[in-house]
């Protein structure tokens, strides 16, 4: 017990010393902490890159890129507590658990720190606003647009989803159906379910090619499905004939882009996400904007985000990846 107290004391002294050092050194720098689920994850490293970009654009802004070494809420709480002690101006967090980190973040807000969540949200009480990478409407529109853009004369498309009960996929498909009127000539001939299993998705894709010989595109809004469908199309020798598109990760889809089975696909861009989170945090911390329902907060080159009743907003359309940018992103996430 005695030893622990002593260690804590030393740590406290060290912290005070460093605090004094930094505050003396950078009086008017705004310090924004980008707290991620865990360090060493490509997706978040890319987000940090975007955050630095935003800081450079804003000027006088320092980014503290931090997070626990494993994806636990406990680890994040420790990180948050140390950030409170350092007296940062803003915390932008992608939470490992929406509720567990909320009390620590509430404490941060009581100390006057601006708190926003991005990517993975925090309970409403624990943040001023939440930035979603995209919205269901935007995703629903994007997946059909990806297919339609390569079919100027219209054509048949089929959907390969996850399971029949996957909430996200069902909402996206529903949103997609709503905007079908904007894409005349595009006909959705079937919706099949690969259950997010590589073998079943592969078989379903083969079934689609057999049942609909004139099929032009397969839309798979799920990462396992899109990879399996692209493989099935490539194996059937129909790469270039049938375009597999939807939502996937660049690292997983690089082979499909290379083989030509997929012309393009989409997913959020972590660089844009980190950039926008910092832009918002800066605007809120400097008092240029307030986080309230209906407010529009500027995000630099990403435009504005409009907040809904739960003070959350959607950043943008999912970002499109194709042969021109896949090499840049496949090593990131």
């Amino acid at each position: 017990m005695k030893r622990r107290n002593f260690t804590a004391l030393v740590a406290g002294l060290g912290l005070t010393a460093s605090l004094m050092g930094t505050s003396a050194m950078a009086q008017d720098n705004m310090r924004i902490a980008l707290v991620v689920k865990a360090l060493g994850i490509g997706f978040f490293e890319a987000a940090a890159k975007g955050a630095e970009e935003a800081a450079a654009e804003l000027g006088n802004t320092e980014i503290i890129y931090t997070g626990p070494t494993d994806t636990t809420a406990e680890g994040q709480i420790e990180v948050i507590n140390s950030l409170i002690a350092q007296g940062v101006d803003a915390i932008a967090i992608s939470a490992n658990d929406p509720d567990a980190v909320a009390p620590a973040l509430e404490r941060a807000m009581q100390r006057g720190i601006t708190v926003i969540s991005w990517d993975s949200g925090v309970a409403e009480s624990g943040r001023q606003m939440h930035l979603n990478p995209s919205s269901n409407e935007l995703i629903g529109n994007m997946i059909i647009k990806l297919a339609a853009d390569n079919l100027p004369d219209g054509g048949q498309v089929a959907i390969l989803s996850a399971t029949t009960t996957s909430t996200n996929q069902n909402i996206w498909i529903e949103e997609m159906q709503k905007v079908m009127g904007n894409y005349p000539g595009i006909e959705v001939v079937a919706t099949v379910y690969g259950d997010d299993l590589a073998d079943k998705s592969y078989r379903e894709a083969q079934g689609l090619m057999q049942s609909y010989p004139d099929l032009d595109a397969i839309i798979a809004p799920t990462s396992v499905g899109i990879v399996a469908a692209a493989q099935a199309v490539a194996d059937a020798g129909k790469a270039g004939e049938i375009n597999v598109t939807g939502l996937g990760l660049p690292s997983e889809m690089a082979g499909a882009i290379e083989s030509g089975a997929s012309k393009s696909f989409a997913i959020w861009n972590p660089i844009d996400l980190g950039y926008s989170a910092v832009m918002i945090a800066h605007a809120l911390a400097s008092g240029e904007a307030t986080a309230e329902p209906g407010a529009a907060i500027p995000m630099g080159r990403m435009g504005d985000v409009t907040l809904d009743d739960t003070t959350s907003g959607a950043m943008a359309d999912p970002f499109i990846y194709d042969s021109t940018n896949i090499d840049e992103f496949k090593s990131i996430f």
Binding site: L197, Q206, V227, G255
Partner: protein, 327 residues
């Protein structure tokens, strides 16, 4: 002799498969085209390989629920091996996959043999352990298509006489294990140990050791399938073949392999696997609501088992006729 073949379980199951194909053909004529049937066989090859291994384990009154996890771990290991040493020849990769699978099978076998733990408990445990190891070795990340060497991905797809190598592997396994099961002492020992363990012990067979070899064979086949699976779908991740062990057991049950041990043939396991494989491949093309598909798969299994058990009903022999008569 001919009559015995015609009324065997395998013949009945074969007839059922033909009937099933014809039924599917009424809804989707292209299904029975030879090229498509070859494709279905190729798609079912992993299931056939695993079902043969599982059959041997079930023959010895055991069950191996860890095959799918074994497949996933072997598959992930060889995928990562390929990632680290892209120039390693496929032959080495295949040997490593079989070796790893066999080791995992031996671990099951040792626990069953030396510690006499019920096989269902052992393999339920190792199922979770092996799945957990996949996570540990891969750190939860995927090995993707573009990271695998072209040779690694090409093997199951390359064709010999118009048939993909994956099908050839399954055909080779069918021939090899038919010979092993009918013509070798080890093969006959599997039947003896499952049919009547006590009698087997009296004839000098070591029941535990025979079960150990059954698990080893099942594991080796699972390892081989692991490589084929990963290279065919060109992706390795933690959940590959999740729940596949149930398909494998179902294939055996449909194929007339008695869960009580001692009864079953390689042919039965293969036909059982094909029956499931045909249903899996037909459902996407016959335009049936996905909500019904699972129910239909399940019903087909139960019907097959009922048919099997009915054909077996009269096999018991009354050896003391006089005792039956009232005194």
């Amino acid at each position: 002799m001919l009559k015995r073949y015609l009324t065997s379980r395998e013949a009945l199951l074969f007839a059922a498969i033909v009937a099933l194909c014809l039924l599917i053909a009424t809804r989707f004529a292209g299904f029975v085209a030879p090229s498509n049937l070859l494709r279905v066989f190729n798609d079912t090859s992993p299931l056939i390989l695993l079902a043969i291994g599982q059959m041997i384990v079930i023959l010895t009154k055991c069950i191996d629920l860890s095959v799918a996890a074994n497949l996933a771990l072997s598959g992930m290991c060889v995928a990562m091996l390929n990632l680290a040493y892209p120039d390693l020849p496929v032959a080495v990769i295949v040997m490593v996959a079989i070796g790893l699978g066999a080791l995992m099978g031996m671990f099951n076998g040792i626990l069953v043999w030396k510690l006499a733990i019920p096989p269902i408990v052992v393999t339920l445990g190792t199922l979770t352990i092996y799945r957990g190891f996949v996570f540990l070795v891969s750190d939860g990340s995927w090995v993707n298509s573009h990271q695998m060497s072209p040779a690694f991905k090409a093997f199951p797809r390359s064709e010999l006489l118009g048939i993909p190598m994956m099908s050839w592997v399954a055909l080779a396994a069918i021939v090899i294990f038919t010979v092993v099961m009918t013509r070798t002492t080890l093969g006959r020992a599997f039947y003896a140990v499952g049919g009547n363990p006590h009698a087997a012990t009296y004839t000098g067979l070591n029941v535990g050791r025979t079960q150990f070899w059954a698990f080893t064979i099942s594991g080796a086949l699972a390892g081989l399938t692991g490589y084929l699976w990963v290279s065919r779908y060109a992706v390795a991740y933690v959940d590959i073949a999740g729940g596949f062990e149930l398909d494998v057991v179902a294939a055996c049950v449909i194929g007339g392999i008695s869960i009580a041990g001692g009864i079953g043939t390689v042919g039965g396991a293969v036909l059982g696997a094909l029956f499931l494989g045909i249903i899996k491949n037909a459902l996407p093309v016959v335009d049936i609501s996905p909500f019904w598909q699972m129910a239909i798969s399940g019903a087909a299994i139960i019907i097959a088992v009922i048919v099997n058990s009915r054909t077996r009903r009269n096999t018991g022999r009354i050896i003391l006729k006089s005792a039956e008569k009232p005194a």
